[in-house]
Symmetry: C2
Subunit: 408 residues, 2 copies
Amino acid sequence: MSYGFLEGMRVIESSAFVAAPLGGLTLAQYGADVIRIDMIGGGIDYARWPVMPNGRSLYWTGLNKGKRSLAVDLRKPEGRQLVADLVAAPGCGILLTNVAAPWLGHARLAQMREDVITCTIEGNPDGTTAVDYTVNCATGYPLVTGDGAADRPVNHVLPAWDVACAAQAAFAVLAAHGRRLASGQGAEIRIALADVAFSTLSHLGVVADAQLLDHERPAIGNDVYGGFGRDFACRDGRRVMVIAISARQWASLVAACGVAAAVAGIEASRGLDLRREADRYEARDAIADAIRPWIADRGLAEVAAAFDAAGVCWGIYKTARELVAADKRVSAANPIFETIDTAGVGRHLAAGPAPRFTGVDRGQVLPAPLLGEHTDVVLTELLGLSGAAIGLLHDKGIVAGPHTGHTS
Amino acid sequence: MSYGFLEGMRVIESSAFVAAPLGGLTLAQYGADVIRIDMIGGGIDYARWPVMPNGRSLYWTGLNKGKRSLAVDLRKPEGRQLVADLVAAPGCGILLTNVAAPWLGHARLAQMREDVITCTIEGNPDGTTAVDYTVNCATGYPLVTGDGAADRPVNHVLPAWDVACAAQAAFAVLAAHGRRLASGQGAEIRIALADVAFSTLSHLGVVADAQLLDHERPAIGNDVYGGFGRDFACRDGRRVMVIAISARQWASLVAACGVAAAVAGIEASRGLDLRREADRYEARDAIADAIRPWIADRGLAEVAAAFDAAGVCWGIYKTARELVAADKRVSAANPIFETIDTAGVGRHLAAGPAPRFTGVDRGQVLPAPLLGEHTDVVLTELLGLSGAAIGLLHDKGIVAGPHTGHTS
């Protein structure tokens, strides 16, 4: 765990891929005891890319930090019963899953423990399958990503809806847990990835814009819709993203690049007031033309010094390697990062929760477990099984202990 | 409000743009009384695009659904004191903000109310400014978005880090609120947008991949990294995203397109087992070549019928207008959506929380307030001010009532 806020909360996570595991990670890093259930030998995401040369998945170990792991044969009725028993166990009573299996259905679990909380992540609200890419293609965003020069849509690379869904699942579980503490009630929660995406479009005004104004955002490359923001190349080829959202940021940018006269000329000739965000959007090409030479004449270091001195809102385009190699925000100097040792991976930087609570112990960022590392101790702690009973489960191939052979 | 889970929680939100308002929206839609504070006449984001012809912002109204609004002159000391008094008021004690103003600093508020919870969203962890675009450019994603044919990076359009930050802020506030209920302790929370992004990169394995293997994801267009997924054009020009992550999805895709023989040929000639995800990634071009003619020979309706019958994981590329016009997932038939009436906007679809709690009343999706709509009632309820005292604040220009003139 990291923070201790959720000490006493225990969650069974029967999951794969991003949304459910990342939701469980959030709970674990706030102090919940999250026990991830996997098929013996690993589930569908156990070897997902990126992977170490030995086959150990950096994806799986990244998403399962600080959880305990139990390996069980989920095809066998006894294995399924064991998982249901763990969910319903005293001191547990929470299931987080994206496996819509009837044997893990809420009704069945609620018969075993009336106040059970289940949170099931699904693709579409009708229960049909969808993943981040097959939801995102319907949002309209891929058709307006990039400059529209290609004849095909451009998908995002970050699984953004999975990431948002994970946080909403963690929030819903926490809200339901608070209600259970207060009133003793359980909860059946369902979250569709599609609903996460389309509700976000509503919150951002996209749905109303399309419905009421029959309006579609244009494909405007890296420009910021409705304001001024664009990427530029420095003399040394490094690229920067430059933005002016607030009036102060705009004044800083104009001052840093020394373009006050050019700006006044744009304003005069076009009847605009570039202190207004919408006017900057209208004149964005002219503004970019004014700024471009100043940036193109300077190397990144000189641009950086001038922009920082003036208070410009800007950033540097980096590869992931450049980010990790030399950006202090991704280093042990940042309190949210720590160097940890993950079995089968080695020592590497890993993040705890992004939120920082002043004066609250962050604990340690704990590494992901080995698959099945906690099988025996969980069965003892949660179900009170004897060593002999656990041994029998091993003998029958219903559970398994630590899996260390990562070469696939 | 929508759900009643957070009844009794009251939050002062002094905010602008996406992350803080969307975090407040989450709390409001779970039942908290969220009071948004804005500058008289509207803050920096009050007229942000998209906007109605009368100037009313669909962005602002989308992000402030179900909140109460208080308009105050934030430049005047009396106005600032009023906001601090509201945060410290009995029955309140929570501030959510992205305005790093000293007069709203935690230390000052904690002197007024010891158990105050403040959640401040910032750009970088050192307090310097950053926004979604200037954080995202450093993640490495824009450099691997699209097919790499252009000589410049491709930014995402969805402000994905803002969306993720909002949910993490709401979660952090809820966790701190739970602790305060149990122990009486307040909390000072800071969340940097950059930390949200870079911690996510750690969770997804990107940081470890770069650090340990010096590895960078390639720009692979719309292909799904490490598996099989790609967009295809139907005979009628409509595009679809097709994915095979699980072995079952792969079998469905092979069956639907009738490409079993071609798949066997690929496996034999390249020594691969395409039931394995990593092998599908390696052979993704050959797989796409096999599938492409089947899709290109059929209109969308025929593709849809065959894919759905076979259980393929797929989606249709849509514009936002197409989505809102004809996708039942964005309609009043979906329980998370409702038609509401927003002053200055009219009747439109709007979403409540994406999570659905079985048997729990969703309440109504409430519209955004008029700016300053609740100025008087909030001052009465929270601070016990008399009508005369409130009148004096109006006369002195420290607060203002409802703002209905949206034409900018």
